[in-house]
């Protein structure tokens, strides 16, 4: 967990949410704080729900509602999991990575690669599009 990213995103999220005219309640606060700490790489809604239930700090409905809000404000990014459940991760300028899924263990590893980023930028230019998001998920086995 990167403390700089956590703090920066937390303050970003705080201002964007209040700027959008939303009030801050206990459940939303709990979700936002959990995401700042553990949403730096893909976390599932179910995992958030389970964690909050363990500390009596929010219901499933509030988790989904908060995630929707954050998504609409561009504060989180959503990636569909292989099992039909969505995974979220915070959006922060200091975080730009892609994902590799080890099919042997199911474990997700984040990586960065400048060459890949350049290739994607090249594609966007060639297609004549302005990108708002890029999902790259590689799957395979370690050799």
């Amino acid at each position: 967990m990167d403390a700089d990213v956590r703090d920066r995103w937390l303050s970003q999220a705080g201002s964007r949410l209040s700027g959008a005219g939303r009030r801050s309640g206990a459940a939303r606060t709990a979700v936002v704080e959990l995401l700042a700490r553990e949403g730096q790489c893909l976390i599932s809604a179910q995992e958030i729900i389970d964690r909050l239930r363990a500390s009596h700090a929010g219901s499933a409905a509030s988790v989904y509602r908060t995630l929707d809000e954050l998504l609409a404000l561009g504060l989180v990014h959503r990636l569909e999991g292989r099992d039909g459940s969505a995974r979220y991760e915070i959006v922060d300028p200091g975080l730009r990575h892609h994902h590799f899924v080890d099919e042997a263990s199911g474990e997700v590893q984040a990586f960065t690669d400048e060459g890949l980023d350049r290739a994607i930028a090249g594609v966007a230019e060639r297609l004549g599009v302005a990108l708002s998001s890029r999902d790259v998920v590689l799957r395979g086995r370690r050799t």
Copy 2:
């Protein structure tokens, strides 16, 4: 729709399925033929179900069962949709493409890009992994 790809995949699918000891029934045949024609770029299970129901040629259960089989045999590729419903597309040596989603219209456009493929191969080598699949989904707007 590319007729060469359709025919090649159809014969591939036929031999691999019977080779795996599976029998051919009406429903599975209908799914496989529909995929050969319209699964060259992302089609959802729901869409297949609706089409087959319209022609009384298969149930939801059979569609999912067939898709699972094809997936296990590596004959289709599965990509999770933004709305929590999976999308499938046939796997064919002559078809290697990535996807761009136009956020204005929701339309999906397939594209190929050698530079991107090279960059991905480079990443795999650097990470020391053997890839079994690569999902690249770019989202944005045409400029």
